[in-house]
Symmetry: D2
Subunit: 430 residues, 4 copies
């Protein structure tokens, strides 16, 4: 079972100052190879190519999510709120610590190319033949399955799920503050202390004392800004596009029995869509980068060019479109072929639309996020969905906005500009 | 020649808020493959295993050194100080940007094992067949050699050398602030704005207006604290020891014609002491980590164990000694052999003494640092070495302090504790 | 005429770090008795009774407005924008420094009771027989009148007016940051550096480069939060109500020839509505407080009670109403009389509605603010009002929101609660 | 007896973010007129004339000292340290909250002129006929006397005294951080969280876990810097000198039966040395400033000139001396008389020497501070005075340094410069 450490361990953390570990199981989980591996996976994938400070890892974020969860539960216990099920503390802490353990290198890009899902990998790692599994099981026979069901949002205590996964969960609160800190922008800062103080367990949910409404508004605005300033930055999207094209080309080459001069077993599993847990766990940013640096010397010109571009940050340029005009794209692809560029590799479109829905979407059952809404608790113990009371949240909840881009290798296009049609030249400012 | 950019470029930086690039040559240098490679080399080597935030790269530090140098020169130009040679601006900026371009992965560990020198590599990269060399030469035929001589401290304008290399140079000012920011400690903060405001060019040197003396004291105290809290932290030293042992074992194996299951050309050059510039440039943290993760499966048990320890952060433990007792160490080595541990790999000593000399060392000509002292300029234009005026600096300049440690694999020792002599068990708290 | 100081003067400022004075006229203005008097007037009136850190003076704010203006002009000059009229620098700096010099103690309360206007006093001080007038005139015969017309927004160069008075002027930028700093909230922080970098002079206006749109959104959201969290805080409003009642009672007593045991010439002028410039300048927070502390011993019970309450922070309590129901208020006044409370002094209503209009009000000519809208400048040099491009600003511009309160002395009401009607008791939670 | 509040009260504080009040007695003490009066007394006296941000009051500092004490005790209770006498919590909290309640306006200046002592006044207020006394007594009959004996350092539990009064007490920790925050310097920042974490109750003393030694070094260095940069700043000393001369002149005039045009009962008590508790409590910064502004129109030229100077910040200038040469001062006084200046009012000397002793003075029993030294607790539960282990503290403890100044009205001296002796002109740079 659980037992406190003789002396609490403290991690120095730039965002939360100190992170306190007081339980032996948490301490052991942090020291498993699977958790230490998160040190080798950047939290923000390729964002460091746009904001050079964004070099922090999923390790520090995972500790941060744990710490916020610990503080929330602490507050609940200190005030003796009866709606908080005290026996769920360790499940909550373990789930918050481990929720990202299934991330691989550049997850978003890889998930799109290989159709994998980091949450599923998280569960496989928790339930598989791993040190994490053994530590959890040692503490409580059922713990691995409990934690996995929290990750899958099927745990029978929804209040535990909402700690780790809701419109204002420990995960989001940590990453907004952490990503703001490391990129150096101050859009993402909000008053964490105040929010933690106004959270209340209430009938199986986490709600917010009404007096904290403005702090929540501030949090949601920070989120809005971080998405448009950082996460959706077109230069980062451009880096992601390169990444995806590298992997797509490697899959093609593998399928066509290309003999790679450099290959590792786990990479091979990845390219063939046959990843084992062990293989997945041996993938990290270092393996990906080493592959790119070696593949930069492969004979296949598309692959080597893409790899070199990624390493040397010679990214594709972009132009913004008013709307995603499919006819236009089809025409461009034709023209690309005509002038000797590869329409699949030298052209890419990108549509950014998911935020408005995600910022806050009250009252719907289905959708991309499916995360429970933020609820206010008034003095009469009545619960109200926040956009019914906050003008500002109601206003931004209705915002629906998209941005549309076309990405391309600028210097290749310039070198063939005279063969392009006039209106294409104009579109690309040539 | 040099020409300003049409529009200045701005990097968002968490330490300096904004970093301004106003000259086309600087912009091109930043975009060379050799400079972008610095993104793949951690500024603080293995320190992230002690302070998890310390994941920042030499890329951001190099930009920071450039920015501080730019600000200093800006202030000199704005005030029209006649002792500042205006024609040296670009040499200074290029040297400050490039001063660390010769760093490899985990430099301190690798330099000790392979007896290389990152400053020498910096010069080879600047003078070799590289994109950096071409950009510099394009701006001014002599520029590569000028910049290299600044790095080597032989440039005939010592004031330029002292910008990049002195007891209070742009390099140190940036790394103290940056390392403090990313580790999250606040020992390392000092009033950079104020220091920049009181610097003056004076007869071929950079001096400090006397009214800024207390700000310099504060800077030196920050430095003292950063060294003992961060840079000399015994857990970081333990990680470095593992690293060095990994490389040492790999060299031994290579020398004995061991057939590595994983090898890359540049690693092979490294292990054989035959690094070319091209080979050196292809080494980075990712290659090192990928090697370790593959070597963790090598048949040689020493190598695979060391690699696994490093990846999973199963570091050697340490005990502190009153003094470095060579007789004791010799006895321990004997005992290690006796109980079946490898004295070369399962035991290491470490002495930390270099700081006191480095904190501030007035009035000596020779020594480890050989960096010019900090000089105060009084109202009568007289220059005085700072420790003659500052009680606090005079006091700490005299401090000579060493710490002594023995590192070892704890669980191996515990498993054989009953075969150890009593006083050894006591020494290691067994 | 203007001449630079031999050596620039630097004020240490917690918000801007350093404030630089480079011109002799600015330096002399700061050292006039009229400007030094701003040290004795709190920037936020009674807000310190709600947020105890808000004890900063109009002196530091005025320096801050000057510094932001200086930085904006500096950027314009550095980049050589032709739309910036360089000869207007000194007028702009003087106007920004002096724009609040006509503030008196607790301006908002006093202006409402005595129907004065601090902007008018500012002009009278600039144009009257004062040290400020002499310093300005010494620099340029026309300067006092130029500066006054900037304050009055009638200056013939609207770009100068907009620096000091617009929807995003130096005044607002400083007070949001400063008030956030001193109260300790972090709602009010936004990225000043970034905003300063994207401002451009353009055809007689100050516009914002389109790439800075998100930074402006962030600034407006900070403003929104500061208004509802700080400036409109009901406890501060309660303190203001006490203040206004004190002055109202003193005017009544004076009109009825009450013989005050404590009086000063300037106070007498104030109560009689006959303030001279000299009299006005001798009013400050200290005089007001000293009067209150002495009047706390006056025989008139209403006055002495109000003064004691203000000094000892025994404020009126409040209840919030759904709407401002005039019939209800009239009923309450009747009931107050019936139970022996004074309806004019023991009851007050307060409606807070001005913000939504002020947050941002595009496209209207008249209104409370009458401040020019924020304009975006796109790459084709086209100017667009910001809410046409920013979803978020368009959303909040439409928000119209009011809050309604009734204030009263709680312990007096409690002591007579049994004589109140049932629904009144309910309203006041008795 | 003590009882917790139904709901804890939270003050927003810029230094500690939040200050928590959980007990009804503390809440009532804060709301007494005597404690609210601290809002009208600046924490740093005249320092705001040097650092304009230093306008914060003793009210916010007192809350801060309370909060730090609360956090220390919290940590002791949370960890269940047996050497902490739990029953002393309320005495400790009350004493920390009230320790400065006896401060008057510009205490340091007034204490020197009138030979009063703010600690003695604190005790008189706690024991006298005051609301504070009644609140304390209501909680516990003996509490007023207990709290007063803590203030007087005679309480029979020295561990309680050392919380409020030692070389590293809650008082000092708060004022260093607070004064640094409001002045805007960053010399005064140290890692409060870390220090609070390493404090331990041990055999009737508060000691520091040895691992926290470097944090203590950092705290002491901050202190050293704050003293020389802020507290001993010669411009602040100059303002204090004006203040003292104003009071001295007023006493003289009062003694010679001068008829003041402006006088208040409490001021009269002060000038005659007959202050009652009630009179003392009605003195605050506002009364002092109002008196100065009125006395600026007194007929006595010395008094009116001094008052005008203080209000308009026309301070005396200063020159620094190598040593305090009494013969030189005597000569200057003679020369002052000869040229028609008043040697008592137009000349003042100032010696600043107290710091070195105060920074840290181990091992002595008597002296200016008489505050217990800082003790380290090692792993074997041995206690050692810190300078025995810390090189840096040992070094600075030995520093003995004085600065010597002469202050004078510059423009008066300039106007008579031709009548001065040559070497005097030289001394004053005329």
């Amino acid at each position: 079972m659980f037992r406190p450490l003789d002396e609490e361990k403290v991690f120095k953390d730039p965002v939360h100052h100190s992170i306190y570990v007081q339980d032996a199981t948490i301490w052991k989980l942090i020291n498993t190879p699977e958790f230490q591996r998160l040190r080798r996976i950047r939290q923000l994938g390729t964002t460091y190519l746009t904001f050079h400070g964004a070099e922090h890892s999923r390790f520090s974020h995972s500790l941060g999510v744990y710490e916020i969860t610990r503080k929330i539960i602490n507050q609940f216990e200190r005030n003796g709120y009866k709606d908080w099920p005290q026996e769920e503390k360790m499940v909550s802490l373990c789930a918050s610590l481990l929720h990202d353990v299934g991330h691989g290198p550049f997850s978003h890009a890889i998930e799109q190319v290989f159709d994998t899902d980091h949450e599923e990998w998280t569960c496989e790692i928790i339930l598989g033949d791993t040190a994490i599994h053994r530590v959890l099981k040692e503490a409580d026979e059922q713990l691995p399955w409990k934690v996995a069901s929290v990750i899958r949002k099927t745990y029978d205590k929804p209040i535990v799920v909402s700690l780790v996964s809701s419109q204002m969960d420990a995960d989001r609160m940590d990453y907004l503050l952490r990503d703001a800190y490391f990129t150096g922008v101050n859009y993402g800062t909000f008053d964490l202390d105040r929010i933690l103080r106004v959270l209340r367990p209430h009938q199986g949910q986490i709600v917010v004392k009404e007096s904290g409404m403005h702090a929540v508004e501030d949090y949601l605005m920070s989120r809005y800004q971080m998405y448009w300033q950082i996460y959706f930055h077109p230069v980062t999207r451009s880096s992601d596009i390169l990444l995806k094209k590298i992997f797509r080309r490697a899959v093609e080459l593998r399928a066509s029995r290309h003999r790679f001069q450099f290959m590792l077993p786990s990479l091979q599993q990845l390219l063939e869509g046959k990843l084992t847990v062990e293989g997945y766990l041996s993938l990290d940013d270092n393996v990906a980068f080493t592959a790119f640096s070696q593949w930069a010397h492969e004979k296949d010109e598309l692959l080597s060019d893409l790899c070199r571009r990624f390493l040397d940050r010679q990214l594709y340029k972009y132009v913004q479109l008013e709307t995603m005009d499919l006819k236009l794209i089809e025409d461009l692809r034709g023209e690309w072929s005509r002038i000797g560029l590869h329409p699949d590799y030298h052209l890419e479109t990108d549509t950014v639309v998911d935020l408005p829905y995600d910022v806050y979407k009250p009252g719907t059952e289905t959708g991309a996020s499916e995360k429970p809404p933020i609820l206010l608790l008034d003095e009469k113990e009545q619960v109200t969905e926040i956009s019914a009371k906050s003008d500002i949240i109601r206003s931004i909840a209705g915002i629906h906005r998209g941005k549309y881009y076309v990405y391309y290798p600028e210097e290749l296009l310039i070198s063939r500009a005279d063969r392009l049609q006039a209106h294409t030249r104009e579109l690309f400012h040539l």
